[in-house]
Protein backbone atom coordinates (compact mmCIF):
# COMPACT_ATOMS: atom_id res chain seq x y z
CA UNK A 1 0.00 0.00 0.00
CA UNK A 2 1.40 3.29 -1.01
CA UNK A 3 1.62 5.92 1.64
CA UNK A 4 0.80 9.45 0.79
CA UNK A 5 3.44 12.02 1.41
CA UNK A 6 1.40 13.53 4.16
CA UNK A 7 1.59 10.26 5.98
CA UNK A 8 5.28 9.94 5.45
CA UNK A 9 5.73 13.47 6.61
CA UNK A 10 3.98 12.70 9.82
CA UNK A 11 6.08 9.60 10.16
CA UNK A 12 9.16 11.73 9.98
CA UNK A 13 7.74 14.00 12.60
CA UNK A 14 6.88 11.21 14.95
CA UNK A 15 10.37 9.85 14.96
CA UNK A 16 11.20 12.74 17.23
CA UNK A 17 8.04 13.05 19.22
CA UNK A 18 7.71 16.27 21.07
CA UNK A 19 6.53 16.17 24.62
CA UNK A 20 2.93 15.12 25.10
CA UNK A 21 1.92 15.53 21.53
CA UNK A 22 -0.18 13.13 19.63
CA UNK A 23 -0.81 12.73 15.94
CA UNK A 24 -4.39 12.03 15.14
CA UNK A 25 -5.98 11.25 11.84
CA UNK A 26 -9.42 12.71 11.55
CA UNK A 27 -10.96 11.15 8.51
CA UNK A 28 -11.39 10.06 5.81
CA UNK A 29 -13.97 8.03 7.64
CA UNK A 30 -14.99 10.14 10.56
CA UNK A 31 -18.54 10.95 11.55
CA UNK A 32 -18.14 14.66 11.19
CA UNK A 33 -15.77 15.35 8.37
CA UNK A 34 -18.70 15.56 5.96
CA UNK A 35 -17.57 12.92 3.63
CA UNK A 36 -14.01 12.04 3.00
CA UNK A 37 -12.04 14.99 4.23
CA UNK A 38 -8.98 13.98 6.11
CA UNK A 39 -7.39 16.16 8.70
CA UNK A 40 -4.01 15.47 10.17
CA UNK A 41 -4.04 16.86 13.64
CA UNK A 42 -1.17 17.35 15.98
CA UNK A 43 -2.76 17.65 19.38
CA UNK A 44 -1.67 18.30 22.90
CA UNK A 45 -4.34 16.66 24.97
CA UNK A 46 -7.31 17.82 23.03
CA UNK A 47 -5.91 21.12 21.88
CA UNK A 48 -5.01 21.30 18.23
CA UNK A 49 -1.45 22.47 17.67
CA UNK A 50 -1.43 22.18 13.94
CA UNK A 51 -3.58 20.69 11.28
CA UNK A 52 -3.27 19.81 7.66
CA UNK A 53 -6.22 19.08 5.45
CA UNK A 54 -5.69 16.24 3.03
CA UNK A 55 -8.14 15.98 0.18
CA UNK A 56 -8.57 14.07 -3.01
CA UNK A 57 -10.47 11.10 -1.65
CA UNK A 58 -13.36 11.97 -3.88
CA UNK A 59 -11.54 13.22 -6.94
CA UNK A 60 -13.77 12.12 -9.78
CA UNK A 61 -12.11 13.65 -12.80
CA UNK A 62 -14.95 16.06 -13.53
CA UNK A 63 -12.76 18.39 -15.56
CA UNK A 64 -11.38 15.63 -17.69
CA UNK A 65 -14.83 14.18 -18.25
CA UNK A 66 -16.15 17.58 -19.32
CA UNK A 67 -13.56 17.69 -22.06
CA UNK A 68 -14.93 14.53 -23.61
CA UNK A 69 -18.64 15.23 -23.52
CA UNK A 70 -20.75 17.59 -25.51
CA UNK A 71 -22.10 20.65 -23.77
CA UNK A 72 -25.45 19.23 -22.72
CA UNK A 73 -23.92 16.01 -21.48
CA UNK A 74 -21.75 17.80 -18.96
CA UNK A 75 -24.72 19.22 -17.09
CA UNK A 76 -25.50 16.01 -15.18
CA UNK A 77 -21.88 15.84 -14.16
CA UNK A 78 -22.07 19.39 -12.89
CA UNK A 79 -24.84 18.20 -10.57
CA UNK A 80 -22.46 15.74 -9.07
CA UNK A 81 -19.76 18.22 -8.19
CA UNK A 82 -21.69 20.11 -5.59
CA UNK A 83 -24.34 17.54 -4.97
CA UNK A 84 -26.02 19.57 -2.29
CA UNK A 85 -26.55 22.53 -4.57
CA UNK A 86 -26.85 20.93 -7.96
CA UNK A 87 -28.76 23.83 -9.43
CA UNK A 88 -26.11 26.42 -8.71
CA UNK A 89 -23.29 24.34 -10.11
CA UNK A 90 -25.35 23.70 -13.20
CA UNK A 91 -26.11 27.37 -13.38
CA UNK A 92 -22.51 28.48 -13.44
CA UNK A 93 -21.72 26.00 -16.15
CA UNK A 94 -24.78 26.75 -18.23
CA UNK A 95 -24.13 30.46 -18.01
CA UNK A 96 -20.62 29.95 -19.26
CA UNK A 97 -21.82 27.87 -22.18
CA UNK A 98 -24.47 30.42 -23.02
CA UNK A 99 -21.89 33.18 -23.08
CA UNK A 100 -19.62 31.18 -25.35
CA UNK A 101 -22.43 30.38 -27.74
CA UNK A 102 -24.14 33.73 -27.49
CA UNK A 103 -27.48 32.22 -26.57
CA UNK A 104 -30.21 34.43 -25.21
CA UNK A 105 -32.12 33.11 -22.24
CA UNK A 106 -35.83 33.88 -22.13
CA UNK A 107 -36.98 35.91 -19.21
CA UNK A 108 -39.25 33.26 -17.83
CA UNK A 109 -36.34 30.85 -17.76
CA UNK A 110 -34.28 33.32 -15.77
CA UNK A 111 -37.07 33.67 -13.25
CA UNK A 112 -37.41 29.92 -13.00
CA UNK A 113 -33.69 29.65 -12.48
CA UNK A 114 -33.83 32.17 -9.69
CA UNK A 115 -36.69 30.33 -8.05
CA UNK A 116 -35.07 26.91 -8.21
CA UNK A 117 -31.72 28.42 -7.30
CA UNK A 118 -33.13 29.86 -4.14
CA UNK A 119 -35.03 26.67 -3.42
CA UNK A 120 -31.74 24.92 -3.79
CA UNK A 121 -30.15 27.35 -1.38
CA UNK A 122 -32.83 26.55 1.16
CA UNK A 123 -32.36 22.82 0.61
CA UNK A 124 -28.63 23.11 0.97
CA UNK A 125 -28.85 25.26 4.05
CA UNK A 126 -31.34 22.86 5.58
CA UNK A 127 -28.92 20.04 5.14
CA UNK A 128 -26.14 22.18 6.49
CA UNK A 129 -28.24 23.08 9.50
CA UNK A 130 -28.97 19.45 10.12
CA UNK A 131 -25.44 18.18 9.82
CA UNK A 132 -24.09 21.08 11.80
CA UNK A 133 -26.51 20.27 14.57
CA UNK A 134 -25.54 16.63 14.33
CA UNK A 135 -21.88 17.53 14.64
CA UNK A 136 -22.68 19.38 17.80
CA UNK A 137 -24.60 16.41 19.09
CA UNK A 138 -28.13 17.65 18.55
CA UNK A 139 -29.56 14.69 16.68
CA UNK A 140 -33.13 15.81 16.81
CA UNK A 141 -32.48 19.11 15.09
CA UNK A 142 -30.78 17.13 12.35
CA UNK A 143 -33.85 15.04 11.77
CA UNK A 144 -36.13 18.04 11.87
CA UNK A 145 -34.09 19.72 9.17
CA UNK A 146 -34.26 16.60 7.04
CA UNK A 147 -37.99 16.51 7.51
CA UNK A 148 -38.36 19.95 5.97
CA UNK A 149 -35.88 19.06 3.31
CA UNK A 150 -38.02 16.13 2.28
CA UNK A 151 -41.04 18.34 1.74
CA UNK A 152 -38.92 20.61 -0.40
CA UNK A 153 -37.72 17.58 -2.29
CA UNK A 154 -41.29 16.67 -3.06
CA UNK A 155 -41.58 19.93 -4.95
CA UNK A 156 -38.25 19.43 -6.63
CA UNK A 157 -39.25 15.96 -7.66
CA UNK A 158 -42.45 17.13 -9.21
CA UNK A 159 -40.63 19.90 -11.01
CA UNK A 160 -37.50 18.17 -12.21
CA UNK A 161 -38.05 14.48 -11.73
CA UNK A 162 -35.20 13.88 -9.34
CA UNK A 163 -34.54 14.34 -5.67
CA UNK A 164 -31.02 15.65 -5.54
CA UNK A 165 -29.30 15.78 -8.88
CA UNK A 166 -31.76 17.51 -11.11
CA UNK A 167 -30.23 18.02 -14.53
CA UNK A 168 -32.77 20.79 -14.84
CA UNK A 169 -30.98 23.73 -16.36
CA UNK A 170 -30.29 23.70 -20.05
CA UNK A 171 -28.15 25.84 -22.26
CA UNK A 172 -30.63 28.55 -23.15
CA UNK A 173 -33.14 27.99 -20.41
CA UNK A 174 -34.54 25.22 -18.29
CA UNK A 175 -35.65 21.72 -19.09
CA UNK A 176 -39.34 22.10 -18.47
CA UNK A 177 -41.76 24.71 -17.31
CA UNK A 178 -43.08 25.01 -13.80
CA UNK A 179 -45.82 22.49 -13.32
CA UNK A 180 -49.38 23.42 -12.61
CA UNK A 181 -49.82 24.11 -8.96
CA UNK A 182 -46.18 24.82 -8.35
CA UNK A 183 -47.02 28.20 -6.96
CA UNK A 184 -49.29 26.86 -4.24
CA UNK A 185 -46.84 24.13 -3.39
CA UNK A 186 -43.88 26.40 -2.96
CA UNK A 187 -45.78 29.07 -1.09
CA UNK A 188 -47.19 26.49 1.26
CA UNK A 189 -43.71 25.17 1.82
CA UNK A 190 -42.33 28.64 2.50
CA UNK A 191 -45.01 29.30 5.09
CA UNK A 192 -44.21 26.01 6.72
CA UNK A 193 -40.51 26.75 6.65
CA UNK A 194 -40.95 30.12 8.28
CA UNK A 195 -42.86 28.44 11.05
CA UNK A 196 -40.23 25.77 11.46
CA UNK A 197 -37.38 28.24 11.46
CA UNK A 198 -38.80 29.70 14.63
CA UNK A 199 -38.75 26.22 16.06
CA UNK A 200 -35.14 25.72 15.01
CA UNK A 201 -34.16 28.96 16.62
CA UNK A 202 -35.82 27.97 19.85
CA UNK A 203 -34.36 24.51 19.80
CA UNK A 204 -30.82 25.30 18.81
CA UNK A 205 -29.90 28.90 18.17
CA UNK A 206 -31.07 30.17 21.51
CA UNK A 207 -29.65 27.26 23.40
CA UNK A 208 -26.93 28.24 25.80
CA UNK A 209 -24.85 25.15 25.15
CA UNK A 210 -25.02 25.80 21.46
CA UNK A 211 -24.02 29.41 21.92
CA UNK A 212 -21.10 28.54 24.11
CA UNK A 213 -19.91 26.03 21.55
CA UNK A 214 -20.04 28.38 18.63
CA UNK A 215 -19.32 31.88 19.87
CA UNK A 216 -15.70 32.88 19.65
CA UNK A 217 -14.73 29.63 17.97
CA UNK A 218 -12.92 29.47 14.67
CA UNK A 219 -12.45 33.20 14.38
CA UNK A 220 -10.92 34.68 11.26
CA UNK A 221 -10.49 38.32 10.50
CA UNK A 222 -11.82 40.14 7.49
CA UNK A 223 -8.31 40.46 6.10
CA UNK A 224 -7.59 36.77 6.50
CA UNK A 225 -10.82 35.84 4.82
CA UNK A 226 -10.08 38.05 1.83
CA UNK A 227 -6.48 36.95 1.58
CA UNK A 228 -7.53 33.34 1.58
CA UNK A 229 -10.16 33.99 -1.04
CA UNK A 230 -13.11 33.07 1.11
CA UNK A 231 -16.57 33.68 -0.22
CA UNK A 232 -20.16 33.13 0.67
CA UNK A 233 -21.24 32.88 4.28
CA UNK A 234 -17.65 32.40 5.43
CA UNK A 235 -16.70 35.81 4.04
CA UNK A 236 -19.95 37.42 5.02
CA UNK A 237 -19.56 36.08 8.53
CA UNK A 238 -16.52 38.31 8.82
CA UNK A 239 -18.51 41.38 7.95
CA UNK A 240 -17.76 41.69 4.25
CA UNK A 241 -21.02 42.26 2.38
CA UNK A 242 -19.93 40.31 -0.65
CA UNK A 243 -22.68 38.48 -2.40
CA UNK A 244 -22.55 38.05 -6.13
CA UNK A 245 -26.28 38.31 -6.35
CA UNK A 246 -25.90 41.90 -5.22
CA UNK A 247 -22.35 42.93 -6.01
CA UNK A 248 -22.12 41.40 -9.46
CA UNK A 249 -25.69 40.54 -10.29
CA UNK A 250 -26.24 37.78 -12.77
CA UNK A 251 -29.49 36.55 -14.20
CA UNK A 252 -32.35 38.71 -12.91
CA UNK A 253 -31.25 39.07 -9.36
CA UNK A 254 -31.05 42.83 -9.69
CA UNK A 255 -34.82 42.95 -9.91
CA UNK A 256 -35.44 41.59 -6.45
CA UNK A 257 -35.24 43.19 -3.12
CA UNK A 258 -33.21 41.37 -0.54
CA UNK A 259 -30.47 42.00 1.97
CA UNK A 260 -27.06 40.53 2.40
CA UNK A 261 -26.90 39.23 5.95
CA UNK A 262 -23.52 39.99 7.43
CA UNK A 263 -21.91 38.63 10.58
CA UNK A 264 -19.75 40.53 12.97
CA UNK A 265 -17.09 38.40 14.52
CA UNK A 266 -16.08 35.95 11.86
CA UNK A 267 -16.63 33.04 14.22
CA UNK A 268 -18.68 29.91 13.84
CA UNK A 269 -21.69 31.61 15.33
CA UNK A 270 -21.54 34.50 12.85
CA UNK A 271 -21.43 32.11 9.95
CA UNK A 272 -24.30 30.21 11.47
CA UNK A 273 -26.36 33.36 11.89
CA UNK A 274 -25.60 34.49 8.35
CA UNK A 275 -26.92 31.25 6.97
CA UNK A 276 -29.97 31.30 9.17
CA UNK A 277 -30.76 34.77 7.87
CA UNK A 278 -30.22 33.63 4.32
CA UNK A 279 -33.19 31.33 4.73
CA UNK A 280 -35.36 34.38 5.15
CA UNK A 281 -33.76 36.22 2.25
CA UNK A 282 -34.25 33.24 -0.03
CA UNK A 283 -37.85 33.01 1.05
CA UNK A 284 -38.24 36.67 0.19
CA UNK A 285 -36.69 36.27 -3.23
CA UNK A 286 -38.83 33.28 -4.12
CA UNK A 287 -41.98 35.08 -3.06
CA UNK A 288 -41.10 38.07 -5.22
CA UNK A 289 -40.16 35.92 -8.17
CA UNK A 290 -43.34 33.90 -7.96
CA UNK A 291 -45.34 37.09 -7.94
CA UNK A 292 -43.61 38.71 -10.89
CA UNK A 293 -42.73 35.77 -13.09
CA UNK A 294 -43.53 36.55 -16.73
CA UNK A 295 -44.98 34.15 -19.25
CA UNK A 296 -43.34 32.98 -22.41
CA UNK A 297 -41.01 30.21 -23.39
CA UNK A 298 -38.70 28.59 -20.90
CA UNK A 299 -36.10 27.54 -23.38
CA UNK A 300 -34.46 29.97 -25.79
CA UNK A 301 -33.41 29.44 -29.34
CA UNK A 302 -30.43 27.18 -29.27
CA UNK A 303 -28.61 26.31 -32.44
CA UNK A 304 -28.93 22.62 -33.26
CA UNK A 305 -25.21 22.42 -33.71
CA UNK A 306 -23.57 23.81 -30.64
CA UNK A 307 -20.25 25.53 -31.02
CA UNK A 308 -18.13 26.79 -28.22
CA UNK A 309 -15.65 29.50 -29.10
CA UNK A 310 -13.36 31.47 -26.88
CA UNK A 311 -13.06 31.40 -23.13
CA UNK A 312 -15.21 32.78 -20.38
CA UNK A 313 -15.37 32.81 -16.63
CA UNK A 314 -18.77 32.92 -15.00
CA UNK A 315 -19.53 33.02 -11.37
CA UNK A 316 -22.55 32.24 -9.35
CA UNK A 317 -23.35 32.60 -5.67
CA UNK A 318 -23.89 29.08 -4.46
CA UNK A 319 -25.01 28.31 -0.91
CA UNK A 320 -21.39 27.77 -0.03
CA UNK A 321 -19.89 30.74 -1.77
CA UNK A 322 -18.67 31.69 -5.14
CA UNK A 323 -18.81 28.99 -7.76
CA UNK A 324 -16.91 29.82 -10.89
CA UNK A 325 -16.68 28.00 -14.16
CA UNK A 326 -13.88 28.72 -16.57
CA UNK A 327 -14.92 27.37 -19.90
CA UNK A 328 -12.73 27.26 -22.98
CA UNK A 329 -14.09 26.26 -26.34
CA UNK A 330 -12.23 25.39 -29.50
CA UNK A 331 -15.12 25.54 -31.93
CA UNK A 332 -16.45 22.06 -31.36
CA UNK A 333 -19.46 21.15 -29.26
CA UNK A 334 -17.24 19.82 -26.50
CA UNK A 335 -15.60 22.13 -24.04
CA UNK A 336 -11.88 22.27 -24.62
CA UNK A 337 -11.34 22.88 -20.96
CA UNK A 338 -13.77 23.26 -18.15
CA UNK A 339 -12.49 24.38 -14.83
CA UNK A 340 -14.69 24.48 -11.82
CA UNK A 341 -13.75 26.89 -9.08
CA UNK A 342 -15.23 25.55 -5.88
CA UNK A 343 -15.63 27.69 -2.81
CA UNK A 344 -15.03 24.89 -0.33
CA UNK A 345 -11.73 24.00 -1.91
CA UNK A 346 -10.62 27.50 -0.99
CA UNK A 347 -12.27 27.45 2.40
CA UNK A 348 -10.38 24.35 3.40
CA UNK A 349 -7.24 26.43 3.59
CA UNK A 350 -8.95 28.51 6.21
CA UNK A 351 -9.26 25.52 8.49
CA UNK A 352 -5.76 26.03 9.74
CA UNK A 353 -6.09 29.66 10.85
CA UNK A 354 -9.51 28.83 12.21
CA UNK A 355 -8.71 25.68 14.04
CA UNK A 356 -5.26 25.96 15.54
CA UNK A 357 -5.45 26.47 19.27
CA UNK A 358 -8.93 25.08 19.58
CA UNK A 359 -10.12 21.74 20.85
CA UNK A 360 -10.95 18.73 18.73
CA UNK A 361 -14.57 19.33 19.62
CA UNK A 362 -14.27 22.79 18.09
CA UNK A 363 -12.78 21.38 14.93
CA UNK A 364 -16.03 19.57 14.40
CA UNK A 365 -17.97 22.81 14.76
CA UNK A 366 -15.58 24.66 12.48
CA UNK A 367 -15.78 22.08 9.72
CA UNK A 368 -19.53 22.17 10.03
CA UNK A 369 -19.58 25.94 9.90
CA UNK A 370 -17.81 26.18 6.58
CA UNK A 371 -20.21 23.63 5.15
CA UNK A 372 -17.89 21.45 3.17
CA UNK A 373 -19.05 19.31 0.32
CA UNK A 374 -16.25 17.04 -0.65
CA UNK A 375 -17.62 16.36 -4.09
CA UNK A 376 -17.13 19.98 -4.83
CA UNK A 377 -13.70 20.22 -3.25
CA UNK A 378 -12.24 17.29 -5.10
CA UNK A 379 -14.45 17.41 -8.18
Amino acid sequence: MAETAVTSEVKQDTTTPAEHELFVNMGPQHPSTHGVLRLLLRVDGERVLSLKPDIGYLHRCFEKIAERRSVQMVIPYCDRTDYLAAITSEWAYVMAAEKLMGVEVPERAEYIRVIVGEMQRIASHLLWFGTFALDLGAVTAFLYAFRERESLFDIFQKLTGARMLYNYLRVGGVRNDLYEGFEEDILRFLDLLEERLIEYNKLLTGNRIFESRTKGVGVITKEQAIAYGASGPVLRGCGVPQDLRKTDPYSVYDRFEFNIPVGEHGDVYSRYVVRMHEFYESIRIIRQAIKTIPGGPWLGDVPRRMKLVGDVYTRVESPRGEVGVYLVGDGSDQPYRCHYRSPCFVHLQLLEPMGVGHLIADMVAIIGSIDIVMGEVDR
Partner: protein
Protein backbone atom coordinates in the same frame (compact mmCIF):
# COMPACT_ATOMS: atom_id res chain seq x y z
CA UNK B 1 -14.05 -21.65 16.08
CA UNK B 2 -17.64 -21.38 17.06
CA UNK B 3 -20.40 -23.86 16.66
CA UNK B 4 -21.75 -21.95 13.75
CA UNK B 5 -19.75 -22.11 10.63
CA UNK B 6 -20.34 -20.62 7.28
CA UNK B 7 -21.09 -23.98 5.79
CA UNK B 8 -24.51 -25.40 6.14
CA UNK B 9 -24.66 -28.10 8.77
CA UNK B 10 -27.70 -30.33 8.64
CA UNK B 11 -29.62 -31.00 11.79
CA UNK B 12 -32.69 -29.62 13.46
CA UNK B 13 -30.94 -27.96 16.36
CA UNK B 14 -28.25 -26.26 14.39
CA UNK B 15 -30.69 -25.18 11.75
CA UNK B 16 -33.08 -23.56 14.17
CA UNK B 17 -30.20 -21.99 16.06
CA UNK B 18 -28.84 -20.81 12.78
CA UNK B 19 -32.21 -19.39 11.91
CA UNK B 20 -32.35 -17.53 15.21
CA UNK B 21 -28.89 -16.13 14.62
CA UNK B 22 -29.73 -15.08 11.11
CA UNK B 23 -32.92 -13.49 12.29
CA UNK B 24 -31.08 -11.49 14.92
CA UNK B 25 -28.40 -10.46 12.50
CA UNK B 26 -30.77 -9.34 9.84
CA UNK B 27 -32.90 -7.45 12.34
CA UNK B 28 -30.08 -5.50 13.79
CA UNK B 29 -27.90 -4.42 10.93
CA UNK B 30 -25.90 -1.57 12.34
CA UNK B 31 -24.39 0.35 9.53
CA UNK B 32 -21.19 2.25 9.59
CA UNK B 33 -21.44 5.99 9.34
CA UNK B 34 -19.40 6.28 6.24
CA UNK B 35 -20.17 8.92 3.69
CA UNK B 36 -18.32 9.32 0.45
CA UNK B 37 -20.34 11.23 -2.09
CA UNK B 38 -23.82 12.13 -3.22
CA UNK B 39 -25.26 8.80 -2.17
CA UNK B 40 -24.19 9.47 1.40
CA UNK B 41 -26.71 12.27 1.52
CA UNK B 42 -29.43 9.92 0.39
CA UNK B 43 -28.19 7.44 2.96
CA UNK B 44 -28.62 10.11 5.61
CA UNK B 45 -32.05 10.88 4.22
CA UNK B 46 -32.91 7.21 4.54
CA UNK B 47 -31.93 7.37 8.17
CA UNK B 48 -34.03 10.46 8.67
CA UNK B 49 -37.64 10.67 9.74
CA UNK B 50 -39.35 10.30 6.38
CA UNK B 51 -37.85 6.89 5.71
CA UNK B 52 -36.36 5.88 9.04
CA UNK B 53 -33.83 3.10 8.97
CA UNK B 54 -34.55 2.49 12.61
CA UNK B 55 -37.70 0.63 11.61
CA UNK B 56 -35.43 -2.13 10.37
CA UNK B 57 -33.45 -1.96 13.57
CA UNK B 58 -30.67 -0.24 11.73
CA UNK B 59 -28.76 2.42 13.57
CA UNK B 60 -25.45 3.93 12.67
CA UNK B 61 -22.25 3.32 14.53
CA UNK B 62 -19.19 5.41 13.98
CA UNK B 63 -16.69 2.69 14.74
CA UNK B 64 -16.29 -0.18 12.28
CA UNK B 65 -15.78 -2.53 15.21
CA UNK B 66 -19.40 -2.23 16.17
CA UNK B 67 -20.98 -2.16 12.76
CA UNK B 68 -22.27 -5.05 10.71
CA UNK B 69 -23.02 -3.36 7.47
CA UNK B 70 -20.89 -1.14 5.36
CA UNK B 71 -22.88 0.88 2.89
CA UNK B 72 -20.45 2.23 0.35
CA UNK B 73 -22.22 5.37 -0.76
CA UNK B 74 -20.26 6.88 -3.55
CA UNK B 75 -17.36 6.81 -5.88
CA UNK B 76 -14.30 4.99 -4.71
CA UNK B 77 -11.16 6.38 -6.23
CA UNK B 78 -7.59 5.21 -6.10
CA UNK B 79 -6.80 7.29 -3.06
CA UNK B 80 -9.86 6.08 -1.17
CA UNK B 81 -9.67 2.41 -2.15
CA UNK B 82 -7.05 1.47 0.40
CA UNK B 83 -8.98 3.18 3.15
CA UNK B 84 -12.15 1.37 2.26
CA UNK B 85 -10.24 -1.87 2.45
CA UNK B 86 -8.81 -0.99 5.85
CA UNK B 87 -12.23 -0.06 7.18
CA UNK B 88 -13.76 -3.23 5.86
CA UNK B 89 -11.00 -5.28 7.41
CA UNK B 90 -11.54 -3.62 10.74
CA UNK B 91 -15.19 -4.55 10.90
CA UNK B 92 -16.02 -7.44 13.14
CA UNK B 93 -17.45 -10.48 11.45
CA UNK B 94 -20.07 -11.23 10.32
CA UNK B 95 -20.10 -8.22 8.05
CA UNK B 96 -21.86 -7.26 4.88
CA UNK B 97 -21.38 -4.68 2.21
CA UNK B 98 -23.92 -2.84 0.15
CA UNK B 99 -22.61 -1.00 -2.85
CA UNK B 100 -24.87 1.99 -3.11
CA UNK B 101 -25.14 3.86 -6.34
CA UNK B 102 -23.64 3.29 -9.73
CA UNK B 103 -20.24 4.61 -8.75
CA UNK B 104 -19.77 2.11 -5.99
CA UNK B 105 -21.05 -0.72 -8.12
CA UNK B 106 -18.73 -0.29 -11.07
CA UNK B 107 -17.74 3.30 -11.45
CA UNK B 108 -21.12 4.40 -12.71
CA UNK B 109 -21.02 7.64 -14.64
CA UNK B 110 -17.34 7.88 -13.90
CA UNK B 111 -16.35 4.44 -15.05
CA UNK B 112 -13.15 4.18 -16.95
CA UNK B 113 -11.80 7.54 -15.97
CA UNK B 114 -8.36 7.95 -14.52
CA UNK B 115 -8.27 7.70 -10.74
CA UNK B 116 -11.63 5.92 -10.52
CA UNK B 117 -11.76 2.40 -9.18
CA UNK B 118 -14.47 0.78 -11.22
CA UNK B 119 -16.56 -0.52 -8.43
CA UNK B 120 -15.92 -1.15 -4.81
CA UNK B 121 -16.08 -4.87 -5.48
CA UNK B 122 -12.59 -4.54 -6.86
CA UNK B 123 -11.50 -3.86 -3.31
CA UNK B 124 -13.90 -5.63 -0.98
CA UNK B 125 -16.57 -8.26 -1.55
CA UNK B 126 -20.03 -6.85 -2.09
CA UNK B 127 -23.27 -8.54 -1.11
CA UNK B 128 -25.94 -6.35 -2.60
CA UNK B 129 -25.78 -3.86 -5.42
CA UNK B 130 -28.17 -0.94 -5.36
CA UNK B 131 -28.08 0.97 -8.62
CA UNK B 132 -29.29 4.50 -8.90
CA UNK B 133 -27.59 7.82 -9.11
CA UNK B 134 -28.19 8.31 -6.30
CA UNK B 135 -30.69 5.60 -5.40
CA UNK B 136 -33.82 6.86 -3.77
CA UNK B 137 -34.12 6.01 -0.11
CA UNK B 138 -36.73 3.45 -1.03
CA UNK B 139 -34.27 1.86 -3.41
CA UNK B 140 -31.69 1.62 -0.68
CA UNK B 141 -34.24 0.10 1.64
CA UNK B 142 -35.12 -2.35 -1.08
CA UNK B 143 -31.45 -3.28 -1.16
CA UNK B 144 -31.46 -3.73 2.57
CA UNK B 145 -34.46 -6.02 2.32
CA UNK B 146 -32.60 -8.09 -0.23
CA UNK B 147 -29.64 -8.25 2.10
CA UNK B 148 -31.93 -9.37 4.90
CA UNK B 149 -33.18 -12.17 2.70
CA UNK B 150 -29.64 -13.14 1.95
CA UNK B 151 -28.71 -13.15 5.62
CA UNK B 152 -31.71 -15.31 6.43
CA UNK B 153 -30.45 -17.90 4.02
CA UNK B 154 -26.91 -17.94 5.28
CA UNK B 155 -25.75 -21.32 6.46
CA UNK B 156 -29.14 -22.86 5.80
CA UNK B 157 -29.95 -24.63 2.63
CA UNK B 158 -32.92 -22.71 1.48
CA UNK B 159 -33.21 -22.37 -2.23
CA UNK B 160 -32.65 -18.82 -3.28
CA UNK B 161 -35.69 -17.20 -4.86
CA UNK B 162 -35.53 -16.37 -8.49
CA UNK B 163 -33.65 -13.19 -8.87
CA UNK B 164 -35.49 -10.09 -9.86
Amino acid sequence: MGLITHEAVPGVVTTSLRRLLNWSRKSSLWYMLFGIACCAIEMMATGASRYDFDRFGMIFRASPRQSDLMIVPGTVNEKMADRVKVLYDQMAEPRWVIAMGGCAINGGPYHGEYNIVDGVDKVIPVDVYVPGCPPRPEALMHGVLLLQDKIMREGIEIPAPAKG
